[in-house]
Every structure is written in structure tokens, then in C-alpha cells.
């Protein structure tokens, strides 16, 4: 009996995870990629997010997992990656993480500016900016994802915009 339930739960978890992967993988990976500035890292982190979603559904197949949950998990993964890397960069032993980290492969000028600007933002700022622009959330929704207030999100977006503005000026002038 237990074994049967186990198989059932696994099958449901798989089906639900696959549906989530199908619907959100591109959006989520692009969002994370902008945040961390590296496609390979974004793929790794996104994959981790879907795996943890899967594990969660396996434990409780009826659990509600929506886009907000995925974005929250991806945002946390992205922020902790950026923080980790920041610490690593301060150490002299950072050879392994250097080099491939800030690749921008788009041709469009707007895109290059954006990535250069995002690289200068604090992780919380770029998360707020990307959630409201890239992912299209309102400040209240982004606040729920980031675990903060809607005012704080607005303020972070504004601070991020200030940096964007400076970078874009540098590029055009």
C-alpha cells in the first residue's frame, strides 16, 4: 500500500514538475541569466530550482507551487550566487570563477548596456529591477517574492534606475 502511494506521488510530482518546466523554464532561465550575467550559471541555478520543486512535490504532491514560488526560489539562488561570488572575488584564489563569468552574447546595444549596468547593482537591487521589468511583476508582487515591502521594492527599482542611467550615459556620450 505504501509503495503504491509512493509511486503515485512520484508520478504526480513528475507530471507537475514537467508542466512547470515547460511553462517557465525559458522565462526563469532568462531572468536568472540577467541577474547573474552568465548563461551556464543561470542554467545550473534554474535546474536546481526545478529540482527542488520536484522534491517538494514528491514530498507533498498536492502542494501549491506557482510562478511566484519559482521566482522566489530563483531569486534567492541568484542573490546567494552573487553574494558568494562577491566574497570569492575578494579572495586572491578566484581564478576558477573569473573569465567566463561576464559574457554577453547579444548583439543589440541596449542589451549590452543593460548587462553592464546590472553588473554594478547590488543583488537586491537587480532582483527588484528584474522582477518588475523582466518578469513583469508589480511592486507588491515583487515584495512578496523578495520578502519585503512594496515601498522598499519601489525604492530599490529607483536606485537601480540611477545606476542604469549613469551607465547608459557613459555609453552614449
Amino acid at each position: 500500500m505504501e509503495a503504491c502511494q509512493g509511486i503515485d506521488a512520484t508520478a504526480i510530482a513528475q507530471a507537475r514538475t514537467e508542466a512547470l518546466v515547460l511553462e517557465y523554464r525559458t522565462k526563469l532561465a532568462r531572468y536568472v541569466r540577467r541577474m547573474v550575467g552568465d548563461g551556464e550559471v543561470a542554467l545550473d541555478l534554474t535546474q536546481e530550482v526545478f529540482l527542488s520543486a520536484y522534491r517538494m512535490l514528491q514530498a507533498d504532491p498536492a502542494r501549491e507551487l506557482n510562478a511566484g514560488w519559482l521566482y522566489r526560489a530563483a531569486t534567492n539562488a541568484g542573490i546567494s550566487f552573487l553574494r558568494r561570488r562577491k566574497i570569492l572575488r575578494m579572495l586572491p584564489l578566484d581564478r576558477e570563477i573569473d573569465g567566463s563569468t561576464w559574457r554577453v552574447d547579444e548583439r543589440s546595444a541596449a542589451s549590452v548596456d543593460l548587462q553592464a549596468a546590472l553588473a554594478r547593482l547590488a543583488p537586491e537591487q537587480s532582483a527588484a529591477l528584474l522582477l518588475t521589468s523582466y518578469a513583469g511583476y508589480s511592486s507588491a508582487e515583487a515584495a512578496a517574492i523578495l520578502g519585503t515591502t512594496s515601498d522598499a521594492v519601489r525604492q530599490r527599482v529607483c536606485r537601480a534606475m540611477r545606476v542604469l542611467r549613469t551607465v547608459m550615459k557613459e555609453v552614449t556620450e
Binding site: Q14, T17, E18, V21, R25, T26, A29, R30, R33, G39, A42, L43, D44, T46, Q47, F50, L51, Y54, D105, E106, S108, A110, S111, D113, L114, L129, T132, S133, Y134, S138, S139, D151, V153, R154, Q155, R156, V157, C158, R159, M161, R162, L164, R165, M168
Partner: protein, 197 residues
């Protein structure tokens, strides 16, 4: 008209709301009023139109986005589907590469200890190859066209997260270029992490 620190904090929030595109009319009016009396914010934040222009550049970049997470996203699904029989040890997983062989036919007796299922291996797109794990163990072949066949054997060391760390050629095809391409392709794949026993 003088403005204090808290007014400027409020202005930042209003500017953020304008950027997000959710500012109400009264908020826009309040923002304009603040700018009228605060040259510092005019300089630091810019007017409504400028804020919207910068934000629209971000949105345009999103709309122009062509990058696809195809390769690894597919693996994410596959790996989950198959995680009941993933890799037994952290080391030594052999993959087979074959160019030009039909990949549709699944291998008979697919051994469960292989790190890379046929579908996973199919995602090794780096060489634009079709991948068919041929036998369990290490033998595989790489045929460039119908007439030429190379055989290369290699070991892949996989870390806890399934990321390949090292590729060692255990039997050379005799062509260093082929060996290198095989390793490069193998290093581009993502593997099932080792199962803890």
C-alpha cells in the same frame, strides 16, 4: 521651497513606481511637485519621461531576448524522470558519441548504472552530434561519415552536482582532434549527480 531627506526618500519610491508603471495620477503629481523644488532629485533621478525611457530600454532588451535554455532545460526534465537509476559512482561514466548514426533507436539492454541516458546524451549538442550509448563500459565510436569511423574511449569525473570535472582519454582514436572534440562534447553535458549509498 526646501525639501528634507524624507521627501527625497519618498521621491525615490515615486520614481520607482513610475518606472514599474504603476504610479497613480496623484503620485505622478507628487513626484513632479517634488522635482520642482529639488534640483538634486532632478539630477539624480530624472523626470518622468526619462525614467520611462530607461525602463523601456530594459523591457525592449527583454523582448529582444533570443537566448534559449534549451539544451540543459531538456536535461532537467530527463534527469527527473530517470532519477531512480542514476549513476552509481562519482567517477568513471562512459558516454558514447556517434556522428551520423540514427539516434532514434534506443539501445537494447540500457544498463541502469550509466550516468547518461540516451536522451541526456542526445543533448550533447556541442558537436552537433547524435549520441548513441553503444555498450555499457567504455567503447564507443564516432563516425564522421559512412566511410570513416573513429573509436575513442574516455572517463568522465563528475562532481556532486553532476558537473563534469575532468575528461581522460583512455583509448585514443589516433587523431588528437577527434579525441579532443569527444572530450569537449562530453564536458558540455550535464550528468546525474552520484547517488549516495
Amino acid at each position: 521651497m526646501t525639501t528634507g531627506q524624507s521627501d527625497c526618500t519618498l521621491a525615490e519610491r515615486l520614481a520607482g513606481a513610475i518606472a514599474i508603471g504603476e504610479a497613480r495620477d496623484d503620485e505622478r503629481v507628487a513626484y513632479r511637485a517634488h522635482l520642482a523644488g529639488c534640483p538634486r532629485c532632478v539630477h539624480a533621478l530624472g523626470g518622468e519621461r526619462e525614467i520611462e525611457r530607461i525602463m523601456s530600454a530594459v523591457v525592449r532588451a527583454r523582448d529582444d531576448e533570443r537566448w534559449e535554455p534549451e539544451r540543459r532545460a531538456r536535461l532537467a526534465t530527463r534527469r527527473m524522470r530517470r532519477n531512480t537509476w542514476t549513476l552509481a559512482t562519482a567517477l568513471a561514466a562512459a558516454v558514447a558519441l556517434a556522428i551520423g548514426l540514427p539516434a532514434e533507436k534506443p539501445p537494447l539492454n540500457a544498463p541502469p548504472q550509466r550516468a547518461l541516458s540516451q536522451h541526456d546524451a542526445g543533448a550533447i549538442a556541442a558537436l552537433n552530434t547524435q549520441t548513441v550509448p553503444r555498450r555499457e563500459g567504455r567503447a564507443e565510436s564516432l563516425s564522421v561519415d559512412a566511410a570513416t569511423t573513429f573509436s575513442t574511449a574516455f572517463d568522465i569525473a563528475v562532481d556532486q552536482r553532476g558537473t563534469p570535472r575532468r575528461c581522460t582519454i583512455t583509448k585514443s582514436s589516433g587523431f588528437r582532434l577527434v579525441d579532443r572534440s569527444v572530450c569537449r562534447a562530453a564536458m558540455h553535458a550535464h550528468y546525474s549527480p552520484p547517488v549516495q549509498r
